[in-house]
C-alpha cells in the first residue's frame, strides 16, 4: 500500500504473523477474486489476501460493505473458488469444500417446510449418521442453544433471534472444527443480538471441544471488539487487508471498560485513516499525469444522505467527530464513511483526522433556498470529472441525448474496477437532484435538463 496511515503503529496491538503459536487450521495465500459483471467485464472484489485461521481463536473480518469480507468467508469455506491464489486446509490444498466448516448465515437459511428438529436432523443425515445417533444428537443441540420446547415449531413461527439460534444449533450439531459466522446478528433486534453474542462466546469458549475456532464477518466495530481475539480490518474496492489488530482482553468483556473503548477508538481511526487519508492536495496537473484514465469513483450514496449530513453538521456548529455522528444518527459506520466521502468529493466538507468539518460551499448550501441549492449542487457536480465527461458527451450528440449503454461504456472505460451499473444509478440520482440530468427509464436515454430543446 502506498498510503501512509497517519497513526503510529506502536499505539495498537499490531500483531506480527509469528506471534500466535496455535496450529493453523486453514489459510488463504495471495488470494484475489473477480466476479463477472453482466456485460462480461470482471469486477475485482479481492486483491492479494493473506490470512490464517488458527486453533483456539475468534477471528473477525471487519470492513465496510463492498470490501469482500463475505467472499473471503466463502472462499475459506470452499463455497467459492478464488480466481487467483491458494487455499490451504491443515497445510494441504483444500479439497473442494472445507471439511471442518459450518456456517451460520445472515438470514439463518432454514428450510421453511421443516420443523426445528427436522432442520437439524437433515444435516446429520447428510453427514451419514445412523438414526440412533441422530435421535440422540439433535435434541441435545436444540437444548444447547436454548430451543427446548420449540422442537416441533416451523421457522415461520419463530422470531428472528430464535431462527438464528436454530442456525447456530444446526452448525454446532455437525461438530465443526471452525464455525463461520456471516454477519449473524445484523438482521435481529439489538437486545436479542446482545444475548446471542454472549451465548456464542460461551459455546465456543471451551478449548477441549469443537469448534476450535470461529471466523466471523461483521461491520459492527463494537461487536468485533467484544468478541474477537484478532480483528482483520479490510479496505474496499477492491478488498485488501489494511491491518490486523489483536485484542488480548479477558472475557467477558465490558463495553464500557477503558480498554475496550480504546480499541474501538483505534479501529475507528484505522478505518477513517485508511479510507480517507489526509494526503496533501496534489495539483490537478500532476494528478492527471499520474492517472490518465482513472476517475474518482462515486460512492453509492443518495443525495438526501449527503444533504442530511450537511444539515446535521450545520446544527452542530459546523463540525463533529465521525464516530459521534455514526452513533447519533444510528448510521452504520461504513455507510457514514461513504456519505462523508461523497460530501468530500463534492467539496462540501473536509475531514481532518476523525473530524468532519463543513466547508464554505457546504455552509452556503445549507443556508440557500431550494432553487439556489440546485444551482450550487450543479456547480459542485460539474467539478467532478465523470460529470464533466458525461455532459460533454451529451453536448456532442446531434440530438443532445445519449443512450444508457453509451454512458455505461464510458464508466467501464474510466473506472474499470467499479460496479458500473451502481455508478450509473448514482450518477443519475445526483444529476437529477441538481436538475442537471434528466433520464427516462423506458427509452433509457439521458439528456441535459437545461439544454433539451
Amino acid at each position: 500500500m502506498d498510503r501512509e496511515l497517519n497513526l503510529k503503529p506502536e499505539t495498537w496491538n499490531l500483531e506480527p504473523e509469528t506471534m500466535s503459536n496455535g496450529e493453523v487450521l486453514c489459510e488463504v495465500r495471495g488470494v484475489s477474486h473477480e466476479f463477472t459483471q453482466p456485460n462480461g467485464n470482471p469486477l475485482r472484489v479481492l486483491e492479494n489476501i493473506n490470512l490464517t485461521v488458527k486453533e483456539h481463536e475468534i477471528i473477525a473480518l471487519l470492513g465496510p460493505s463492498g470490501c469482500g469480507k463475505s467472499t473471503i468467508l466463502r472462499i475459506l469455506a470452499g463455497l467459492i473458488k478464488p480466481t487467483k491464489g491458494e487455499v490451504l486446509y491443515h497445510g494441504d490444498p483444500m479439497p473442494g469444500q472445507n471439511p471442518g466448516a459450518a456456517i451460520v448465515f445472515q438470514g439463518a437459511a432454514l428450510y421453511p417446510w421443516m420443523t426445528v428438529t427436522q432442520n437439524i436432523e437433515i444435516v446429520l443425515k447428510a453427514k451419514g449418521l445412523g438414526p440412533s445417533e441422530i435421535a440422540e444428537r439433535a435434541p441435545k443441540t436444540i437444548k444447547l442453544v436454548g430451543l427446548a420446547g420449540f422442537e416441533e415449531a416451523y421457522p415461520r413461527e419463530l422470531s428472528g433471534g430464535m431462527k438464528q439460534r436454530v442456525g447456530i444449533a444446526r452448525a454446532l450439531s455437525v461438530n465443526p472444527e471452525i464455525l463461520f459466522l456471516d454477519e449473524p446478528f445484523s438482521q435481529i433486534d439489538a437486545l436479542t443480538a446482545e444475548s446471542l453474542r454472549a451465548e456464542v462466546l460461551d459455546l465456543c469458549g471451551s478449548k477441549d471441544r469443537n469448534p476450535k475456532s470461529v471466523l466471523m464477518v461483521s461491520h459492527d466495530i463494537k461487536e468485533v471488539v467484544f468478541m474477537a481475539d484478532r480483528i482483520v480490518v479490510l479496505g474496499a474496492n477492491p478488498g485488501v487487508v489494511r491491518t490486523i489488530v489483536e485484542v488480548k482482553l479477558p472475557r467477558p468483556r465490558d463495553y464500557r471498560s477503558p480498554e475496550v473503548l480504546r480499541i474501538v477508538d483505534q479501529l475507528h481511526d484505522i478505518i477513517t485513516g485508511s479510507e480517507m487519508p489526509d494526503v496533501p492536495e496534489t495539483s490537478a496537473a500532476t494528478a492527471a499525469a499520474a492517472a490518465p484514465i482513472a476517475i474518482e469513483p462515486l460512492p453509492d450514496i443518495s443525495s438526501s444522505e449527503i444533504v442530511g449530513l450537511l444539515e446535521y453538521l450545520d446544527a452542530r456548529g459546523g463540525k463533529e467527530d465521525m464516530y459521534k455522528i455514526s452513533a447519533d444518527t444510528h448510521t452504520e459506520f461504513g455507510r457514514l464513511l461513504s456519505a462523508v466521502k461523497a460530501a468530500e468529493l463534492l467539496e462540501f466538507v473536509d475531514t481532518p483526522k476523525r473530524l468532519v468539518v463543513l466547508e464554505a460551499d457546504g455552509q452556503k448550501y445549507v443556508k440557500a433556498t431550494m432553487d439556489e441549492r440546485k444551482a450550487i449542487w450543479r456547480d459542485q457536480l460539474m467539478k467532478l470529472r465523470i460529470f464533466k465527461e458525461i455532459v460533454e458527451l451529451i453536448r456532442r450528440q446531434p440530438n443532445k441525448e445519449v443512450h444508457r449503454d453509451l454512458v455505461l461504456e464510458t464508466i467501464v472505460f474510466r473506472m474499470p474496477f467499479e460496479n458500473y451499473e451502481k455508478v450509473f444509478d448514482t450518477l443519475v440520482r445526483w444529476g437529477r437532484f441538481g436538475d442537471l440530468l434528466a433520464y427516462e427509464e423506458d427509452s433509457e436515454t439521458l439528456w441535459l435538463q437545461q439544454e433539451k430543446p
Binding site: R74, A77, L79, P95, G96, Q97, P99, A101, A102, I103, F105, Q106, G107, A109, Y111, P112, W113, M114, T117, I122, V123, K125, A126, K127, G128, L129, P131, E133, A135, R137, A138, P139, K140, T141, K143, L144, A148, E151, Y154, R156, E157, R170, L172, S173, V174, N175, E177, S206, D208, R209, N210, E441
Partner: protein, 593 residues
C-alpha cells in the same frame, strides 16, 4: 337461500361428525377403494382387448359412469407421466447450463404445438409397438392428453429451482447434502406450491382436447376409445336432433361432475397439504381448508398405515446434565459423502444424454425439413392466409375477453363476499373443456357463419384465464392504495385508470399469455366443426387447415407446414410482445417493490 345452504351443509357436517367414533369414515374409505379397484379392473380389460375391434360408443346415459371413469384414469395416468417428465426434464435443464440453452427454447416450442401435431409421430411409434391389443391405442390417447398437460408444469419447476435463495443453496452445500438429499429436502419442497397450482392448470388443459384425443382419424381410419370425449363426439355425430341434444346434455353433466369431484377429492386436499411448503413469511394469510382432507384424517386405517410407514421415533426427553455434555467428538472422515465424485458421474450422464438428445433433434429437424420441402407454393399461400385469419381471431378474442373480464374480475375481486363465492366457481368453469359446448353454441349462432362464430367458440375456453387472473390481481391491491384513492375522492374512470388498471396489469399480462396460447390451440377445434353426418362446417384459418389434414394419408407435409407456422407465430409473439409486456409489468407495475 343462504339459510337453505347452511341447512344442507350443516347436516352434511353433522353426518361427518357422527362418523368420528363409529368408524363410518373407514367404511366409506374402504367402499371408495373397492370402487376404484373394480373400475381399474374394467379398465385393464379394455386395454387387453384386441386392437382390430373398433369400439362402438354406447350412448345410453348408464354407460357414462364407466366412460367417465375411463377418461379420468387416462387423465391421471397422463398426469403421472407429466409429473415424471417435469421432474426429469426440469431438473436436467436447471442443473446442466449447457443443455439448458437447448432444453428451454425447445420447451417453448413444445408448448406452442397443438395437440394434433403430436398425433402422427406418437401413433406410428406406439401402435406398431403393441399390434395385438389396445394398449398402443390407449397409450396414444394418454400421450396426447400428456402433451396438453406437461409443459407449464415443467416451466414452473425449472423456474422454482432457479429461484431458490442463494443462502439456502449454500447451506445445502456447506452441510454436504448430496444431490438426492438436495432434491428431496430443498428443491422439491421449494417448488411444491408452484407445482401444485400448475398441476391443477395442467389437468384442466389436458381435458380441453379430450374429444379430439379420444376420437380421432388416422390414415383415413377413424378410431375411438370408450370415454366421455368419445361419447360427446359420438353424440355430436347423431343426426336426430332430439337424441343428439339428450346425449350431449348427459355428457356435459358427467364432465361437470367429474371436474367438481376431482376438485373436491383431489386438488383441494392437495392444496391444503401443500400449504406447509409456503415459502413466504408471515402467518396472517387465510388458510385454505378441505372437508375431504379432514375426513381422511379421521380415518383409523390411514392413521394406522401412517404409523407403520413412518418410523419417526419421538426424541427421548433429556436431562439438563445430558444437554450440557459436549457433543460427540469429531466424525470419521469416511462418513463425509464425496460430493465431487457424484458430480462427475452426473455430468457424464448428462453429457451423454445430451449428445443423444441433440442427435435426435438434428435427425428430427432434417426429417421435418424434407417434409416441408414437399409443400407447394399454393399450399404455403393457403397456410399463410389461414395463419393471418387465425391470428386476427386470437387477437380479437383476447381483446373481447379483456373487455368483459376486466370489469367483471374487478367487481368480483374487490368484493370479499363475491370473490369467496365465485372464485372456486370460475376455477371449475375454466377447467371445463369448452369444445363440449361448441355444438350447443353453434346451434344458437349458426346464422352468423363459422368465420365469426369461431371467435365465440375460442372465447368460450380462454376468457376464464383472463377473468381469474384479474380476480387475483384485484384481490392483491394493497388496502392503503385503495384508501388513498378513497380519501382523495378519486372515483369512477379516474380511479380505474390510476389504480385498478395499473395494479392489475401484471396479472392481466399473465392472463393474456395463457388466453392467447389457449386460443391458438382452440382454433383447431373451433374452425372446423363436425355436427351430425353432414359435411363439416369450416372457417378460414390455420386451425381448420390442421384439422382437415390431420390423419389424412398423404397430407403429412401440409400438416407439418401448418404446425410449424403456428408454432413459429406463437413463439415469436411470445418473444416480441408478451415478453416485453412482462418486463414492463415487472419493472413499472409491480406492487411488491
Amino acid at each position: 337461500m343462504k339459510k337453505f345452504f347452511g341447512h344442507i351443509w350443516g347436516n352434511a357436517h353433522a353426518a361427518l361428525n357422527l362418523t368420528r367414533g363409529s368408524g363410518f369414515a373407514d367404511l366409506l374409505l374402504l367402499g371408495g377403494i373397492a370402487g376404484i379397484v373394480f373400475g381399474l379392473f374394467n379398465f385393464s380389460n379394455e386395454w387387453a382387448a384386441p386392437s382390430s375391434e373398433n369400439t362402438l360408443i354406447d350412448l345410453s346415459p348408464w354407460a357414462l359412469p364407466k366412460y367417465t371413469f375411463f377418461s379420468l384414469s387416462r387423465g391421471i395416468i397422463a398426469y403421472i407421466f407429466s409429473l415424471l417428465f417435469t421432474l426429469l426434464y426440469g431438473y436436467w435443464a436447471a442443473k446442466d447450463k449447457i443443455a439448458q440453452r437447448v432444453l428451454i427454447p425447445l420447451l417453448d416450442i413444445l408448448q406452442s404445438l397443438p395437440v394434433l401435431a403430436f398425433l402422427p409421430v406418437v401413433s406410428i411409434t406406439l401402435m406398431n409397438l403393441f399390434k395385438n391389443n389396445k394398449i398402443g391405442l390407449e397409450l396414444v390417447v394418454i400421450v396426447m392428453i400428456f402433451t396438453g398437460q406437461a409443459w407449464n408444469m415443467t416451466f414452473s419447476f425449472f423456474h422454482s429451482i432457479n429461484s431458490i435463495p442463494i443462502e439456502m443453496r449454500e447451506a445445502a452445500a456447506v452441510y454436504r447434502l448430496n444431490w438426492w438429499e438436495r432434491f428431496k429436502w430443498m428443491e422439491l419442497p421449494y417448488s411444491m406450491m408452484g407445482l401444485v397450482w400448475n398441476s391443477m392448470m395442467s389437468m384442466a388443459g389436458g381435458w380441453f382436447f379430450l374429444m379430439v384425443c379420444e376420437s380421432f382419424t388416422l390414415n383415413d381410419k377413424p378410431y375411438s376409445l370408450p370415454g366421455i370425449g368419445a361419447y360427446m363426439a359420438a353424440a355430436c355425430a347423431l343426426d336426430d336432433p332430439h337424441k343428439r341434444h339428450t346425449a350431449q346434455f348427459w355428457a356435459i353433466l358427467a364432465m361437470v361432475l367429474m371436474i367438481v369431484l376431482l376438485d373436491q377429492l383431489l386438488w383441494r386436499p392437495v392444496v391444503v397439504w401443500a400449504q406447509k411448503f409456503r415459502v413466504e413469511e408471515g402467518g396472517a394469510q387465510e388458510n385454505a381448508t378441505s372437508w375431504f382432507l379432514d375426513f381422511l384424517r379421521r380415518s383409523k386405517i390411514l392413521a394406522l398405515l401412517e404409523k407403520i410407514f413412518s418410523h419417526n421415533e419421538k426424541p427421548t426427553p433429556l436431562t439438563a446434565a445430558d444437554a450440557l455434555k459436549p457433543i460427540a467428538q469429531a466424525l470419521p472422515s469416511s462418513a463425509l459423502p464425496d460430493i465431487n465424485k457424484l458430480n462427475i458421474v452426473g455430468k457424464t450422464v448428462s453429457t451423454l444424454v445430451f449428445v443423444f438428445f441433440m442427435g435426435g433433434l438434428v435427425w428430427g429437424g432434417v426429417k421435418l425439413l424434407l417434409l416441408l420441402l414437399q409443400v407447394g407454393g399454393k399450399d404455403w399461400m393457403e397456410i399463410g392466409v389461414g395463419a393471418l385469419a387465425t391470428f386476427a381471431r386470437v387477437m380479437a378474442v383476447t381483446v373481447v375477453g379483456t373487455l368483459w373480464a376486466l370489469p367483471a374480475g374487478l367487481a368480483i375481486g374487490l368484493s370479499p363476499k363475491l370473490s369467496r363465492i365465485l372464485q372456486p366457481v370460475v376455477q371449475v368453469a375454466a377447467s371445463f373443456p369448452a369444445p363440449m359446448l361448441y355444438a350447443v353454441v353453434w346451434l344458437v349462432l349458426k346464422p352468423l357463419g363459422l368465420n365469426t362464430v369461431a371467435m365465440v367458440l375460442m372465447l368460450l375456453g380462454t376468457q376464464w384465464y383472463i377473468l381469474f387472473n384479474v380476480i387475483a390481481g384485484a384481490m392483491a391491491i394493497p388496502a392503503d392504495l385503495k384508501e388513498m384513492s378513497h380519501s382523495f375522492g378519486v372515483t369512477g374512470w379516474q380511479r380505474f385508470w390510476t389504480l385498478y388498471a395499473p395494479a392489475c396489469f401484471p396479472y392481466l399480462v399473465t392472463g393474456w399469455v395463457t388466453a392467447a396460447g389457449g386460443a391458438w390451440n382452440a382454433s383447431i377445434v373451433s374452425e372446423y366443426l363436425v355436427i351430425g353426418s353432414a359435411t363439416p362446417e369450416k372457417a378460414i384459418g390455420l386451425g381448420r387447415k390442421i384439422s382437415e389434414v390431420a390423419g389424412v394419408a398423404g397430407q403429412e407435409p401440409i400438416l407439418a407446414a401448418s404446425v410449424v407456422v403456428m408454432s413459429a407465430m406463437v413463439v415469436l409473439f411470445n418473444r416480441f410482445v408478451w415478453k416485453r409486456l412482462y418486463d414492463l409489468a415487472e419493472t413499472r407495475f409491480s406492487l411488491s417493490k
